[in-house]
């Protein structure tokens, strides 16, 4: 059975009816065919002559050969095996070895709605792939305006769910990152509360704010986002706190892509100052902190979730998991409904 039709598979590879960030925009260069695995799908990414990015299944509709091994023809891809040409909509536009065959003109290559935003390529994976995607809504710090940002892209050898757990666990800042440039201060004891919002929830310390990693927001809709804020020391100069917008996407069961947009609400010369200091030294410090998270996540045992003893600090990740599991079960039920599509006739 296709794992993406099961509750467990959807959880491990990522729920459907979501936009996922796939890779930094710069990874898809003009004229190239880029092969990546994301969210349980084997994907081909390419740009047409106008620079528009396309995300399709990396599978020739003829016999299943990798289209990524084919030829980029500007507005279409030619499979290298038998020359079958498929366009950006997934329609077979030419079968050179058998002109006029029934495959020509048919829209048979799975094609996923794609967009670029904030330096990343996003694709929509729907439960019903013929239905239009939801609008890609992004958290304010990466929507533009008064915010400045840098995208930090990583790939970790850990399930994406461990990374999501980590982001929804502000308390680890006071321990794992206790010697970092941003999280050395604050209490080691905390009581948390969950505050429900229109789009998700905020998980926050009840007795401390603006000192350490004191709150995190989970936004759940057409895409899943985690936003968090960490106060900067005076040395970072004027401007708002350091803000991270995170988006995750599974590469496989045990590997995922992490997008950490490092943001600051800051303008004018203060913005230029932060951008200079960020490039010159702060990025390296932030990256060292992220490496602590990576080392922890990658070393977690495969059965970590099966043998936990959670306490009050963990209520956000419990809530998040419950939400994802319930939705995965609903989607799995829809995806295992008997297919109604007629079989494809062979020419």
């Amino acid at each position: 059975m296709n794992p993406l039709h099961t509750t467990e598979g959807l959880l491990r590879f990522g729920l459907r009816d979501r936009w996922y960030p796939l890779c930094p925009s710069e990874h898809v260069r003009t004229g190239e065919l880029v092969r990546i695995d994301r969210a349980g799908e084997q994907l081909l990414l390419w740009r047409d002559a106008a620079g528009t990015v396309h995300v399709q299944e990396d599978r020739c509709p003829h016999r299943g050969a990798r289209l990524s091994q084919g030829v980029h023809m500007g507005d279409r891809i030619a499979c290298n095996y038998h020359g079958v040409q498929v366009d950006a909509e997934g329609t077979v536009v030419s079968v050179p070895g058998s002109p006029g065959c029934a495959l020509e003109g048919r829209r048979v290559l799975r094609t996923f709605p794609a967009q670029e935003h904030a330096g990343a390529v996003f694709a929509w994976f729907g439960v019903d792939e013929s239905a239009p995607p939801a609008t890609l809504e992004v958290p304010a710090p990466i929507a533009g305006g008064a915010w400045s940002r840098f995208l930090c892209y990583v790939e970790w050898n850990a399930p994406y769910l461990y990374s999501l757990d980590n982001l929804l666990d502000p308390m680890h800042g006071a321990f794992l990152h206790r010697n970092s440039h941003t999280m050395f201060a604050g209490k080691r004891e905390a009581v948390f509360q969950i505050r429900v919002t229109d789009t998700g929830f905020v998980f926050e310390k009840t007795d401390q704010r603006g000192v350490n990693f004191d709150w995190v927001e989970f936004t759940h809709g057409g895409a899943d986002w985690v936003t968090l804020e960490i106060p900067y020391p005076d040395t970072a100069g004027p401007g708002g706190p350091f803000t991270i917008v995170a988006g995750l996407c599974a590469i496989s069961e045990n590997r995922h892509a992490g997008f950490f947009w490092r943001c600051r609400e800051v303008s004018g010369w203060e913005r230029d100052s932060w951008r200079f200091l960020y490039r010159n030294r702060l990025e390296a410090r932030h990256y060292a902190v992220l490496e602590q998270d990576r080392e922890m996540a990658e070393a977690m045992p495969a059965d970590a979730w099966d043998r936990e003893n959670l306490y009050q600090h963990d209520i956000a990740l419990v809530r998040m998991r419950r939400l994802l599991k319930a939705e995965a079960a609903k989607q799995a039920a829809r995806l295992t409904e008997p297919a109604t599509a007629a079989p494809v006739p062979v020419a």
Binding site: S148, R275, F276, L277, R279
Partner: protein
């Protein structure tokens, strides 16, 4: 690789900011009290300081 000038400029900025000086006239005055000067060796002014930061900040990609 950042130049030694960029690193020294960053060191001074962090030190000044670390003392809680976050206003433009204060930062320029504190920079002039330091050993770091622009390439021409002249004193910093608010326009030369902000122009230098704009040069060093890099381009933004807000697609």
């Amino acid at each position: 690789m950042p130049s030694s000038y960029e690193n020294a400029f960053g060191d001074e900025l962090e030190a000044i900011y670390g003392r809680g000086v976050h206003d433009l006239p204060g930062v320029v005055a504190a920079l002039n009290a330091s050993g770091v000067r622009p390439a021409g060796g002249e004193d910093w002014t608010e326009p030369s300081f902000t122009a230098e930061l704009a040069r060093l900040s890099g381009t933004e990609n807000h697609s």
